[in-house]
Subunit: 194 residues, 2 copies
């Protein structure tokens, strides 16, 4: 038996990911995940409420790191620059975890039940980011829009990094924010399309 | 019995919305929805696969109208202007339906199971919008980011319109795209925050 709870969690996550890839999420039971990890089903439920949540263990940590990075960012940054700064502070969380992150994203994309949970987690992070921006004095309306836009940009970068590991996540992140700038600067020129 | 299927759908939606508000989504059954609508449960299931889907009947229509508006937009518009043009073409769908739209959004916000479905529907619309942009020649990377950003802006406008009906949805939409421009122009100036 692993001595630490963290080690048990890690083994359960790895076992779940392997089984979801081998036989699919729907055909995998919590008992099988526990057995593959060399643990009891009771231990599984001590760590995770269900077999979806086992793949989202990192979300709370990412959300906490992100809101802390927003709170600690230098003064004087405009909302999207503030978010870019914060994303660069937390990107190591994904990079440190790449061997798990890559198959995890593939399993989520292929499984509707996991995709719904993933969207709910993302919505919760966006709300937390908007709240962190408001605490930095960003007006409520802009904070919500900046949080949605910034998260979409970060998400795009993470997906590009999974598809093209030759570049770092940081390089993809800068590229994605450049893309956002391109989109805004080439359009929205005041009255075009109106 | 209503003569047309459309009338039955409308009555089932109205009945579901009333019951979800009165006693909550979890404590409402499909049999009760059918009874309130003066129809049989069998008729309910002829129109909707489950009691979540009954509140999302308009999503397919909105998605179709939006992708058609993107396809039919004038040449020469940049991606976000193209989306603003398309959103303005379809906003009447929400405005025509306001008496239903307002309580519907409140029930969704208060019900996790409906919120997950709502997020999944939104993700599906964003994918369809990105695909429609690619068909208009927008490069894939920009199309995905523009679709996410544009949808977030539209969503912000719809929420503002629910909260403040004194202005039209169109006015809120122009305001939200102005906010997006403000966000982009005051930030992302090239190397700030790097």
């Amino acid at each position: 038996m692993p001595r630490s709870g963290a080690e048990a969690r890690r083994r359960l996550q790895q076992a779940a990911l392997e089984l979801y890839r081998e036989r699919g999420f729907d055909r995998t039971t919590t008992a099988e995940i526990a057995a593959r990890a060399g643990l009891t089903e009771r231990t599984f439920f001590r760590h995770f409420p269900d077999k979806r949540e086992v793949l989202f263990d990192g979300e709370a940590g990412l959300r906490a790191a992100l809101t802390q990075a927003i709170a600690a960012a230098p003064d004087g940054l405009q909302p999207l620059d503030l978010l870019l700064h914060a994303f660069r502070k937390v990107e190591h969380i994904l990079e440190d975890n790449r061997p798990f992150a890559e198959p995890r994203l593939q399993v989520i994309a292929a499984t509707p039940a996991l995709r719904e949970r993933d969207l709910a987690k993302a919505a919760s992070i966006v709300e937390a980011v908007a709240e962190a921006l408001r605490r930095r004095g960003v007006p409520a309306r802009l904070a919500g829009l900046a949080a949605h836009t910034g998260w979409a940009t970060f998400h795009q970068a993470a997906q590009a990094w999974i598809d093209d590991p030759a570049q770092s996540l940081d390089a993809h992140l800068l590229q994605a924010f450049d893309d956002l700038r391109t989109l805004c600067l080439t359009a929205l020129a005041g009255d075009s399309g109106r």
